[in-house]
Amino acid sequence: MSAHNSVDLLVRSEEAPLNVFSYLSQLRNHWTLIIVAGIYLVRRTYQRTLLGPVWLLGQGVLPMLGMMAVFQHVSKFQTGDLPYPLFLISGMGIWTTVDLGIKRGFRTLNYLRRIKKVIHVPGIAMTFAGLSLPIVYMSFYAILLLGAVAFIWITDHRFLLSLDLKLVFVPVSVVLALMLVVGISAVTSVIFLIARDIRHIGSLLHLWFFLTPIAYPLDVLPGSWRAVWEYANPLVGIVEMYRYGLFGISGAGYEVFLAAAASTISIFMMGVWFMMRSDWILDEIL
């Protein structure tokens, strides 16, 4: 029998809905659930499939191969010393994390409501659990990227990764990408429970893809539009930060990185705030 001396405390303070930080701090008590729910969401993706996680390979690589085959022959898309495949893989790593994170994220509460209905947990914990699949994809792209770097190193005797302080920007940009996903998913997952219109968010994501320098370098944008692109779209700064950390080259400056970080953190906090208030209402609609 388990020890009787453990004391568990349940409190629902009246001030809780007004304090985002105390709400976020509740996540400390729910790591096990986040991990179990995250694993469940990954397994759920491949349940009842013949090939299982092999689809990860197909979904991740095939679209990228298509883009690589076409765009590396477009002269404007050339990226100097950095081979185009590396440029594309690095961009696609961040993009896939955000794209998949948002597409899966808005379904998270719906998928996990069986669990949420019987185990009290802050809704934001479910949103964090929804990051599991994007993290799997992100890891897959990281392995792909390292493989490509190693291949170029062996065949061309050029080591393209920048192993210096700039490397710090890599984890920072990944964390920012995940925060962006959490911020957006926290809002959309609640709305999705009521209005399934969110399901059609995919077309907006296609637009976002083309507004972000994933497949093309930032330099190809016309000067007048470039500033708008850089500051209005936080993903521009995040992608460029990621590439800067990896290869030491970037089309954007530190001010763009800062703007991206500021807007991403704002979106994240807004999402958490929205989920925090929604938690009081979810009992009514779940």
Partner: protein, 336 residues
């Protein structure tokens, strides 16, 4: 192992003389706010301490009647007549904007009806408590709060040891996986280590009397058998506090034996039933009576039955609270 012998796998039963069944006391003195202070403040023989717990619900239905403003009213009317989704979104929006007052238990200056109203009680360890109310709303709320299924809207609950409810044990997250696989996942969600679940499995198989179901995908297992498995999990798992909202007709015999022997093992149970309330009372050591959201009385079952015979009779014959609808398997099959 035969079904009747499953208890033996849990260890020796304490002699009756060793079973502690203290009477409940009332909460007094200042409420400490830090967990360690609470640990010291709660007596060792108290398994569950409920402190000033209130719960309210039904804000959505309340809003439907009250409406927030003329503008919202018009929008709701517009939405209601044309689009259900818009209607729901507007209701959600109204509640969202009023979360501050919702958290205080009121909307537009009107107090929401309390399902639980400032309930405080200490439940001794090793007691089987039958929760009785008329209609079932208050007991459902209290039992779900104790089981950590829902949080109290105000107040706090202090639990000694691990808690589980039958409702939680019935939640199977992955219908296409085997029962055994689901139990390992569920065990982790309920705070059990993997080896604790594995250690409990033989005893669970004996409890249900049908080990073959444990290796079948959940969706192929009959519903009644799933309930047996849920019962076996709460009985055989390393839980100290067990909440069973509904003692069902046709419940496994081993379950009733567990109810009778649990106090000897230091396990604390909260039980109730809509249809079999008398049976639940028969198997309980204590009764907790709730009337209109407030604690009416708490003590040994015999005393409570004698002291509140009329109330218990009314609760036994009251209309049954309709259980919430089961969540469909998934209404969002398309993935991308």
């Amino acid at each position: 192992m035969e079904a009747g012998n499953w208890m033996n796998s849990l260890g020796p039963v304490l002699p009756e003389a060793d079973v502690r069944r203290p009477e409940a006391g009332s909460v007094s003195g200042p409420t400490p706010s830090h967990p360690s202070a609470l640990a010291n403040a709660v007596a060792n023989d108290v398994a569950i301490e409920v402190r000033n717990v209130s719960y309210w619900r039904g804000a959505a239905s309340h809003l439907r009647k009250q409406r927030q403003s003329e503008a919202t009213n018009q929008l709701l009317e517009l939405g209601r007549s044309r689009n259900d989704v818009l209607d729901h979104l507007l209701e959600f929006g109204s509640m969202f904007l009023n979360v501050r007052s919702l958290a205080q238990g009121e909307i537009s200056g009107q107090r929401l009806e309390r399902t639980l109203n400032e309930v405080s009680v200490q439940i001794p360890r090793g007691s089987v408590v039958c929760v009785v109310d008329i209609g079932g709303l208050s007991r459902t709320a209290l039992m779900r709060i104790v089981a950590k299924v829902i949080p109290p809207k105000s107040g706090e609950v202090i639990l000694r040891g691990k808690v589980v409810s039958l409702e939680q044990a019935e939640a199977i997250p992955m219908p296409y996986r085997t029962i055994r696989y689901n139990l390992l996942s569920l065990g982790r969600l309920l705070g059990l280590q993997r080896n604790e679940v594995l250690a409990a499995l033989p005893s669970m198989e004996a409890f249900t009397g049908s080990a073959e179901f444990f290796d079948m995908p959940v969706r192929r297992v009959p519903k009644s058998k799933k309930f047996d498995i849920a019962q076996s999990l709460v009985c055989s798992g390393a839980f100290d506090v067990i909440v069973a909202q509904e003692i069902r007709k046709g419940a496994n015999e081993a379950w009733f034996r567990f109810l009778d022997e649990a106090p000897g093992r230091g396990k604390t149970l909260l039980i109730s039933s809509s249809r079999l309330l008398n049976d639940a009372l028969d198997h309980s050591t204590h009764a907790l009576l709730l009337q209109e959201g407030r604690l009416l009385d708490f003590g040994s079952t015999a005393v409570m039955r004698a002291r509140h015979a009329q109330f218990v009779d009314a609760a036994t014959h009251a209309s049954i609270h309709v259980a919430e609808e089961e969540i469909p398997l998934d209404d969002d099959q398309d993935d991308e």
